[in-house]
Symmetry: C2
Subunit: 198 residues, 2 copies
């Protein structure tokens, strides 16, 4: 009744585990995630999980990598818009994603790994990709600025949007109005961009 070798390939098993983990994450939060629960959810023992993932942090990173891909996909449709609208649409999409996927968002930005384990390059790359997305409309809006200035402005502006998303997702903005976060990011973008005109 145990040890079925050809039921699923390694990759299939990996996908099954990640999906089960994401389900648990969504339903019970990051605190409740555990290797044993994930293993039980796919009908395997804990030890088998360790043939698919190097350790628990590796598993979390793979979830985060998928989350980041989904986030980038959610932002993609706003590609062709006029620069300022594109920036606002990215920001609102960012906010919306954080609001709709609170647990995955939380795992993405709050998962602490032991200091000695470095975050995988793949994850960092996706974040860099996100910054790159912002640079394009920003460069269009500030044509006289050198690339380096655009780079810094993109990071500045997007850090700001990220900050709103973070505090908003934790209900730390102290504003009863649920739409205030949206107004805040569009306001931030408008003011910041207008500030460059002077």
């Amino acid at each position: 009744m145990m040890a079925r070798r050809n039921d699923h390939s390694r990759d299939e098993l990996q996908q099954m585990a990640l999906q089960a983990a994401e389900r648990l994450l969504d339903e019970q939060g990051a605190e409740a995630l555990s290797t044993r629960k994930i293993a039980a959810a796919i009908g395997y023992s804990v030890g088998s999980l360790y043939q698919l993932f190097r350790n628990y942090d590796d598993l979390c990173w793979q979830i985060n990598s998928r989350t980041l891909q989904q986030l980038l996909q959610a932002l993609a449709p706003h590609d062709g818009k006029p620069p300022r609208e594109a920036l606002k649409a990215y920001a609102l999409g960012y906010l919306q994603f954080a609001g709709q996927q609170p647990q995955r968002w939380s795992l993405l930005f709050e998962h602490r790994s032991p200091a000695e384990l470095a975050t995988p390059v793949e994850l960092d790359g996706a974040i860099a990709q996100l910054f790159g997305l912002i640079e394009q409309p920003l460069a269009a809006l500030l044509p006289e600025q050198p690339a380096q200035e655009i780079e810094l402005a993109a990071r500045t502006l997007w850090s700001g949007v990220h900050g709103v998303a973070v505090l908003s997702s934790k209900d730390k903005l102290f504003h009863a109005d649920p739409g205030s976060a949206g107004r805040m990011v569009t306001d931030l973008i408008d003011r910041y961009l207008d500030g460059w005109r002077g």
Copy 2:
């Protein structure tokens, strides 16, 4: 050789525990914090800790409350400055604090408690206090704006600064220049404020 009732009062013990916890936190990170280590550090057993704190989250919240007080104290000296300088000084102080106390900062903003446990009012109050600190110079800079608008602008601007601090403390800004975070927050404040002139 055990059970010394009059060596320390309840309050003394509580302070000892919090100090020991902060020391462990600073030296080994939030991951390494544990009730047993804290108890051992003050020469008591685990069970005794539970007479001082309702649970581990309560202990973390008390650490966070102290951290927040220290942060507010670090910002206090910039009270009297001209509005725009005050805002920048607050922002730089915020950044500096995050950089100098990375572990406490991390615990403050990333400690996840089981969802059913609500964050204590005391903590929320300190965050509200922080927002209030920003509203003053902002109101001076935008005298024609109604109080509600100032409130929202303070949250917007400070969320932005917070975002820079968060990404900066995690080295997710991808900027070799270590001073770039400082330039980013002052840039953010300047542009945002200038944006209001139009």
